[in-house]
């Protein structure tokens, strides 16, 4: 089996999130027929964001699908409406297969799958698969005015963390030297 390509995930720097909810509107618009917010409003098209900015203890935390390796939503889906993308491991939906049991909604540890009354199916982040395939960033990422949202592969994320940890270590050490 060929190795899966890591499309990356949306990583959020919480210190930079200002709760403007531009990610929410961009996400909702990206998932309309025209992909345009104004057009969708004028056409009366229903819109729903797949990312939600949630308030927690005074902070704003954008929450969305983490595209888990062992995705509980895929596990519990009896009809194959939720599945793993073989190519890159993303967790995707096939709305036409959804029978509306809502098991995925109940088991998602992030509350990132939502039942949509209007369309009779579940909605979740698809990491803007179409957009990404064209080499662009997901809509929520390009809409973020403070660059709090970025797409990183898990390797990139770990590498950034390592670098930050190393810099921190040096800073602590030089601080100790100065003190002594």
């Amino acid at each position: 089996m060929a190795e899966k390509k890591d499309r990356g995930s949306v990583i959020v720097d919480l210190d930079r999130c200002l709760a403007c909810k531009a990610c929410e509107t961009a996400c909702a618009a990206a998932h309309t027929a025209s992909g345009d917010l104004l057009e969708a409003i004028l056409c009366g098209e229903a819109m729903a964001p797949r990312v939600k900015v949630v308030a927690a203890a005074g902070s704003a935390v954008p929450v969305q699908c983490q595209h888990c390796e062992d995705a509980p939503c895929v596990e519990v889906c009896p009809s194959g409406a939720l599945y793993k993308d073989e190519e890159d491991g993303g967790t995707l939906t096939a709305p036409e297969k959804c029978i509306g049991c809502k098991n995925c909604v109940y088991v998602c540890p992030f509350g990132a799958v939502e039942w949509d009354e209007d369309s009779g199916t579940v909605l979740k982040c698809d990491l803007c698969k179409d957009i990404i395939e064209e080499g662009e960033e997901p809509a929520c990422v390009s809409a973020c005015p403070t660059r709090a949202r970025r797409v990183l592969t898990v390797k990139e994320a770990a590498s950034e963390r390592r670098k930050a940890a190393a810099e921190h270590t040096v800073a602590v050490q030089s601080g100790q030297k100065e003190e002594s």
Binding site: R16, L18, A19, C20, K21, V53, V54, A55, A56, A57, G58, S59, A60, P145, T146, R147
Partner: protein, 654 residues
Amino acid sequence: MAKDKDKNRRSSDPATQEMMDYSVEQDYETAWDRYEAQQPQCDFGELGLCCKNCMLGPCRIDPFGDGPQKGVCGATADTIAARNLTRHAAVGASAHSDHGRDIVHTLLMAAQGDAEGYEIKYEEKLEKIADEFGIEREDKDIDEIAREVAEVAMADFGRQEGELRPAQRAPEAVKERWREQGVMPGGVDKDIVRSLHETHIGVNSDAESLIKTAIRASLGDGWGGSMYATDFTDVLFGGPEPIKAEANLGVINPDAVNVIVHGHEPTLSEMIVAAAQDPDIKEKVKEAGAEDIQLAGICCTANEILMRHGIPLAGNFLQQELALSTGAVDGMVVDVQCIFPTLGELAQCFSTRVMSTSPKAKFNGVEHVEFSEEEGLSAAKKILENAIESFKERNPEEARVPEHQDDLVAGYTVESIFDTLGGTYRPLFRPLNKAIMDGRIRGVAGVVGCNNVKQAHDSGHIEMVKELIRHDVLVVQTGCSAVACGKAGLMKPEAAMEHAGDGLREVCEAVGIAPVLHVGSCVDNSRILLACTEMVKEGGLGDDIASLPVAGAAPEWMSEKAITIALYVASSGIYTLCGESFPVMGSKKVREYLTDGMEEDFGGKLAFERDPVEGAHMMIDHIDGKRKELKLDDMMNEPVERAEKVEAAAAHSS
């Protein structure tokens, strides 16, 4: 238990807590629910870094420095924050000044005999103003004088040249500074329009000069629009005198026809008070089987009829929905400002009739009974008749009125404050200045403003005021802040015994006043400006408002009017503390000018602090600094311990 904690975090007022629980039980929506639903709120708006003044935008400035630092037009964070602030100030000034204009207009109509039910009740004040304006009084009857005064005042709104008339009342040093800084107000309307013009795309981009424009419009409110509102409300409806009343939702009487006036302009609420005395109305109340007609108020129109008639206060801004939730309110009559657009929807749960009255403010699902000064009394009677009708439909078993209420004394004005002393002191400010100079009273603080769901309702006002009076600072109050402390029992003379420092208590007992004085509605902040002017005139505390040991605060502010007030108070020379920050913090330049640079130009400046006890001490430190500059005696009595820091009472969900 967790629920109790949550409740305390939302309000410190027992009646509010009780009705909040009841609202949850009954599934009545309140502002606190909507606040919760709005979380998280956008920090670009909070920081003042969002501009939608033109359709090159909307634009946002990245506060972290690595995103865009200019809007499409090139406006920086400084320009955008300053322009936004200027717009807010212009709106606040408009609200107060349009209210002021209505009062002047009513005076004019009353003088011409065109306003049903209105008359001139305070001739002495009118004559004083006529003399001040240089209007010849000889051989003229009072109506003729009133007409001329009203015309002169009206012209001040549209003044194109020269300086605003009532602003001339300020001490010379203050006026000199305003002229130097180019902010001496001219026409009330003109300065507001100028503010709006300057914020159009491609006009003023210099932050400091924009702020000064905002200050000019704000001064035109405090020393113009609002001051006229206060003056002519006194002339039309009488100068307030100390008067006893009660406050909080407990004043709603389950056996009476309850009518709540909510909003701001006394032209309406005064007529409701008059109509309630009408024999026809009284007869109809009896026929309906009610004990009586119980009037009560919310927001500043409540303060107006409290000050002049002792009509009880039902509550302040955040209690407007809770008053309806009692199910015992038969009529709620609203006019302008601070009225939730949801009242009509909530009222559908009860027999309550909410009635809008102003052509300026209509609400979904609310019946409109247009109020005009020409037929003021008739409109007021119609409103009361509607309330009597809905009383008949009220289900007494479904009513839930909390018992909480407290006594207060209101009705203090520049004219009436030391009136009680009589003799040689009357009506001079000598006793106050002397008590300050002797170190009995540390200084004076004006604590005013709104309620804000971001803080525990009322708690900001009450904790700050208690800490101030404990440290011998005499407190004067207006608006929803006054209502908060009235409900908390701080405005009755006994409060001096319980809460005031020794020096302040001695003075309160000698004069027979409470340590916290109710001086009226939010336009009556102009009374505080004039009281400061009187203190300067009295002598011994410097020749400038900026030299007085005084401070101002708006611990729970939320409205644009509060921004305008803070600006005119600070630019009149008074240190002014705001409980919530201004939406400008994303601009270092604007932030630093308001909290620092402004002092050099205006003698006063702003400070921002959410903790009310910490805020009180910032004010006390400022007052002590001024005492030192004036080389006043040390305070007579031993210093008292500082109260524990109040945990910043944000109602954020946790």
